[in-house]
């Protein structure tokens, strides 16, 4: 009996050793003498463009090899890898709450005095500071996107409509289209993140981004400040199609590309998807007219991609070389052209005809960040807004926003 017990213990020990061995031999480095840099990014749309840029870079640098990693649901994958202490050398993501949480966990290298930030528009560097609430800069803003109202130029011309400059004009235009028996807005509210697009435009313009900095210190509430935002968002719902909560983002892109609706409250990121569905569609884009004073209206313009370097990577220098390559005007120019985004590097222009109406706002700095970049992900803003648009109870909605915010703040 004793021998069999020791045998069993031996087997257990063996299994344990194998497990340890298996896990420790995964961190392979420089098999061919080159420094391996892992470039982790979260945009499936941008995979092809980055592949080409990386190819050029690797060809120019004999001693460095950059590899792109772009898994589905990248933000969640990144979080789980951080748990395992397996942080990629370079990470690209949006300036979202995820970035904010990770930055506050000190897993990114400090780039505050880095020469990489020399050519970057200071507005976007400030945006990063606001999002994280830290003075330290840990990311290089790269490309930015904008949220506004997309419209079908051909349909507008046929009905003789002008681009609305104020909230009242927007509603009047929508009413005219509705009276003609057509669909003014194509809402795709089956996907809850689509419901926060009007929220993201109305909130920062009508209430301001400072609201969130004050909300963190419990000085204001949504109940006091967000009533107008809620009312306007509800009013828009009168001008949708029959099945506003039954259509998803992909349905909307297809429908808008085929001229089913006049306007589409959307971000610039949808342009390439819409052109895939119908390459001939003539798209225009105007900033969301949130109020009645056109000079006060700012374009909602947030950081679509920023680069960070892992704090404890042994190849910091090579990673910086690669980032310096990416922010060169020629390379970022290629990137924003193919992705229909805007450049965070000063002096690089986006000349796609679809977004020409937006560029003056960006050049004059009349921009403001997305509201949801300041709202903790655990609040689950999207589902709260979606629920509000269904039951249309403003008091209940604003209370829920305050209650969820406080609950999450208490749990942190």
């Amino acid at each position: 009996m004793r021998t069999s017990l020791t045998k069993a213990l031996g087997i257990m020990l063996l299994c344990g050793i194998t497990a340890v061995l298996l896990s420790s031999c995964t961190s392979g480095k420089s098999a061919n003498g080159k420094v391996q840099i892992e470039f982790f990014q979260n945009k499936p749309e941008a995979k092809g463009t980055f592949d080409e840029l990386i190819k050029t870079f690797n060809a120019e640098h004999a001693d460095i090899q950059v590899t792109q990693v772009n898994p589905p649901d990248a933000e969640t994958v990144l979080k789980t890898r951080v748990v395992k202490n397996d942080v990629p050398d370079i990470m690209a993501m949006g300036a979202t709450d995820t970035y904010s949480i990770l930055a506050q966990s000190d897993i990114f290298a400090d780039l505050t005095d880095s020469p990489l930030l020399k050519t970057i528009d200071p507005n976007y560097i400030q945006m990063l500071k606001d999002v994280t609430g830290m003075d330290k800069v840990t990311g290089v803003p790269y490309a930015t996107n904008a949220n506004g109202i997309m419209y079908n130029k051909t349909l507008f011309k046929e009905m003789g409509l002008d681009v609305p400059k104020t909230w009242d004009e927007l509603i009047a235009t929508a009413q005219k289209i509705k009276d003609a028996g057509k669909i003014p807005f194509y809402f795709t509210y089956k996907d809850d993140w689509q419901t926060n697009l009007p929220f993201n435009a109305l909130g920062p313009n009508l209430v301001g981004i400072d609201f969130y900095l004050e909300r963190r210190e419990n000085k204001v509430t949504f109940k006091e400040k967000y009533r107008e935002v809620a009312e306007k968002q509800l009013e828009l719902m009168n001008y949708g199609h029959g099945d506003n909560f039954g259509k998803a983002y992909s349905d909307g892109n297809r429908a808008f590309a085929n001229g089913e609706a006049f306007m589409y409250i959307q971000g610039t990121w949808a342009i390439s998807e819409i052109r895939k569905a119908n390459p001939n569609v003539d798209i225009g884009f105007f900033p969301f007219p949130t109020g009645n004073d056109p000079s006060q209206i700012k374009l909602v313009n947030g950081i679509d991609s920023l680069f960070t370097i892992a704090a404890d990577t042994p190849h910091k220098e090579q990673a910086e070389q690669f980032l310096a390559f990416l922010v060169e005007p020629e390379h970022i120019g290629k990137y924003i052209k193919e992705q229909t985004l805007f450049s965070a590097v000063e002096g690089v222009k986006q000349d796609d005809p679809a977004v020409q109406e937006l560029t003056p706002y960006i050049e004059q700095g009349k921009v403001i960040d997305f509201a949801d970049h300041y709202i903790p992900a655990a609040v689950q803003l999207n589902s709260i807004v979606q629920s509000f648009l269904q039951n249309k109870n403003i008091d209940n909605y604003l209370n829920t926003l305050d209650k969820e915010w406080d609950k999450v703040a208490n749990r942190r």
């Binding site: 009996m1 021998t3 069999s4 045998k7 069993a8 087997i11 257990m12 299994c15 344990g16 497990a19 933000e75 969640t76 979080k79 789980t80 951080v82 748990v83 709450d97 995820t98 949480i101 990770l102 506050q104 966990s105 000190d106 897993i107 509210y189 089956k190 996907d191 809850d192 029959g242 099945d243 506003n244 909560f245 039954g246 259509k247 998803a248 349905d251 903790p376 992900a377 655990a378 689950q380 589902s383 709260i384 979606q386 629920s387 509000f388 269904q390 039951n391 609950k407 999450v408 208490n410 749990r411 942190r412």
Partner: protein, 288 residues
């Protein structure tokens, strides 16, 4: 003596080790983290005692998820068992193309839940509404997944459609254990089909009824994939199940420790329900 026992250790010890590494250890880790404020990454965390558990009971999102999940699980369990028993009875009769039909009914179980979900998602948003419009039924002319009050029915339909397959197979196996001599005897006594079902068939497949009820209940309490594919918990939080809440809150929301506490409680709830179900249903089982 030793020689004969050795093979058993070879079979059981690795299984125990693997089970411990991949199931028990993570579960214990989860319990450990549920007493901290760990956000899933980052370098530090503090012990917060029972704070997470305390907060759970004040979070109406958790209450909402429990309400949805139980409503869903009970409806799915009942519908699945009724339908699969009916189908199994049909497939056990002497009909033409019996094996063909058995294959057809088993098909939904082979397909991946996610794929089925995405197919149904497309049907709900682009096909059924058009039928509804053409037939002039207003309730059907919009996507029911987009309605806070109706979306759960859409998920029930898909879940039942898919889980009927496995339960049918189990009932079929049960039906084939009943000796035909019993039916011959009841025929001689002049029993009708209805009487035959309640007095012979149903009592004799009781063990299969038990296992089907427990399995269907457990599976639907843990519903996750269908929700991801069909509604992602929406509209609002109308169709957010407990496991979906744990996943989204824990990983996307960065509240790892808090949702760990949620899953510890959920584990206890499922275990208690399953034990009660087995206890209760086994009491009415009978042997020949």
């Amino acid at each position: 003596m030793n020689k004969r026992i050795a093979p058993y250790y070879w079979m059981t010890v690795p299984a125990v080790v693997l089970f411990f590494i991949f199931m028990t250890l993570p579960a214990l880790q989860g319990i450990y983290y549920s007493f901290t404020n760990y956000n899933g990454f980052g370098k530090g965390y503090d012990f917060v005692g029972f704070k997470n558990y305390f907060n759970l009971f004040q979070d109406d999102n958790v209450g909402n998820a429990y309400w949805f999940t139980f409503k869903f699980a009970i409806v799915v369990t009942i519908l699945t068992n009724i339908l699969s028993l009916l189908i199994a009875l049909g497939l056990n009769a002497k009909i033409k193309f019996r094996n063909f039909f058995r294959g057809i009914y088993f098909l939904p179980n082979i397909l991946s839940v996610l794929i089925v979900g995405y197919i149904f998602n497309y049907l709900f948003s682009n096909v059924f509404p058009i039928w509804g419009q053409n037939l002039g039924i207003s309730a059907l002319s919009t996507n029911i997944l987009g309605s806070e009050s109706l979306a759960w029915i859409g998920i029930v339909i898909v879940a039942v459609w898919q889980s009927v397959a496995l339960n049918t197979i189990l009932y079929l196996a049960g039906l084939q254990t009943i000796p035909t001599t019993l039916y011959e005897a009841s025929n001689l006594d002049g029993a009708g089909k209805w009487r035959e079902f309640w007095s012979i068939t149903f009592p004799l497949i009781a063990p299969f009824f038990t296992i089907n009820m427990v399995l269907a209940m457990k599976n639907s309490l843990m519903v996750f994939d269908q929700i991801v594919a069909l509604t992602n918990g929406g509209p609002g939080r109308a169709t957010q199940s407990i496991s979906h809440l744990i996943y989204t809150g824990g990983f996307e929301g960065g509240e790892y420790a808090y949702q760990s506490a949620n899953s510890v409680i959920y584990f206890i709830v499922i275990a208690v329900i399953s034990i009660l179900q087995i206890r209760f249903l086994q009491r009415r089982e009978m042997d020949l």
